[in-house]
């Protein structure tokens, strides 16, 4: 198994995963999307809402606001010592009290834990007119993407097999394919047409289509995966990927433990 990081920042990560089965790559992808925990607003207590939006619409808009929190410091409500009733170990309370005329932004939410805050302070929630008021309490809880998309921290999470060009002897080095490539990654090296950078290839197959002699074929290396995903800001990509691997490990360990007892 080899892992080569191609690109990495707190919000985006791209790596080449090689020497694993497609099932392993897919398990990692599924774990990233559906199992990595995240904090999101789960319940609203609305004291006053004279805005143009219904309570439910505001609840939906607030739930989708990404919240940055250290997930290791919080429990899932169902696993918490309070038994799911709600305590400071499993929930964060945000308060909001705004009077129009103004636009209410995500940054107006005041958190009960100074380390838990919204990722972006400029997400509009609702526009208030003169005399309108929004006063509420929002409860943030940990959850996983399997339950609701608001708890999904990995976005645009996908992989492709590493492509390469196979060239037959029919090739007469007419260079049409080299010119056709929109990314400029098909080139002639040592008298042979080659895909120079398979990672960048968008699989458009223009090189294959422009070839008059049908000499090119785009093939895939089935054990190499160009894997990429983005974070919504609630967690760093490096933490997310480690968390996903750990979740898979926990599942395997838990099943082993149960089987030991059988």
């Amino acid at each position: 198994m080899e892992i080569e990081i191609i690109e990495q920042s707190d919000s985006k990560m791209r790596f080449l995963l090689s020497g694993v089965t497609p099932a392993m790559a897919n398990a990692l992808r599924r774990a990233l999307i559906a199992e990595v925990p995240k904090m999101a607003i789960d319940e609203l207590v609305v004291y006053e809402n004279t805005s143009a939006l219904y309570d439910e619409q505001i609840a939906l808009r607030m739930a989708l606001i990404p919240i940055k929190a250290d997930i290791r410091l919080y429990y899932f409500p169902e696993e918490c010592r309070c038994g799911g009733k709600g305590c400071s170990l499993c929930q964060v309370i945000f308060t909001l009290d705004e009077v129009g005329p103004k636009t209410v932004y995500s940054g107006d939410l005041k958190s009960s834990d100074p380390d838990v805050k919204v990722v972006n302070e400029k997400i509009p929630i609702v526009k208030l007119k003169e005399g309108q008021r929004l006063r509420l309490e929002a409860i943030g809880r940990l959850g996983i993407g399997k339950k609701h998309a608001k708890w999904q921290s990995a976005i645009a999470c996908a992989y492709k097999n590493l492509p390469h060009l196979s060239v037959t002897d029919e090739c007469n080095l007419c260079m049409k394919c080299v010119k056709s490539c929109p990314k400029g990654i098909v080139d002639e090296i040592g008298g042979r047409i080659q895909l120079v950078d398979g990672v960048e290839c968008s699989l458009c197959k223009l090189c294959v289509d422009t070839c008059d002699r049908n000499a090119l074929k785009l093939e895939f290396d089935e054990s190499k995966f160009v894997f990429q995903f983005e974070s919504d800001g609630s967690m760093k990509t490096s933490e997310m990927v480690i968390e996903a691997v750990n979740i898979l490990k926990d599942k395997v360990e838990e099943l082993s433990k149960i089987l030991e007892g059988l």
């Binding site: 990081i5 099932a23 392993m24 082993s256």
Partner: protein, 93 residues
């Protein structure tokens, strides 16, 4: 996770794994298929929202539970390796 044995004979095993889905089951299935002593292995998720997937395993001569334990041990090692490789590549702890 809760495991219920639906059927168990000398070389067959059918278990229901509550709370899991394709993430774990497909990984298990594909890894099990690599073993020569496996005759058949399949899993079935009858409905993605409510079901608990069924895993069926038929071996040629080995005890299926023993084999499943062996596979899980190997998967654990693979995932440990993956974690270490990630930590190495990302230069963390």
């Amino acid at each position: 996770m809760e495991v219920k044995i639906m059927m168990k004979t000398e070389n067959e095993l059918k278990i229901e794994i509550k709370g899991e889905d394709h993430t774990l089951l497909n990984l298990l299935r594909i890894t099990l298929l690599e073993y020569p002593s496996v005759e058949t292995v399949w899993y079935d998720v009858s409905h993605p929202l409510v079901s608990s997937p069924l895993l069926y395993l038929k071996t040629k001569d080995e005890d299926p539970i023993e084999l499943l334990r062996k596979v899980l041990k190997r998967l654990k090692e693979d995932l440990d390796e993956m974690e270490n490789k990630f930590k190495e590549a990302l230069k963390i702890g």
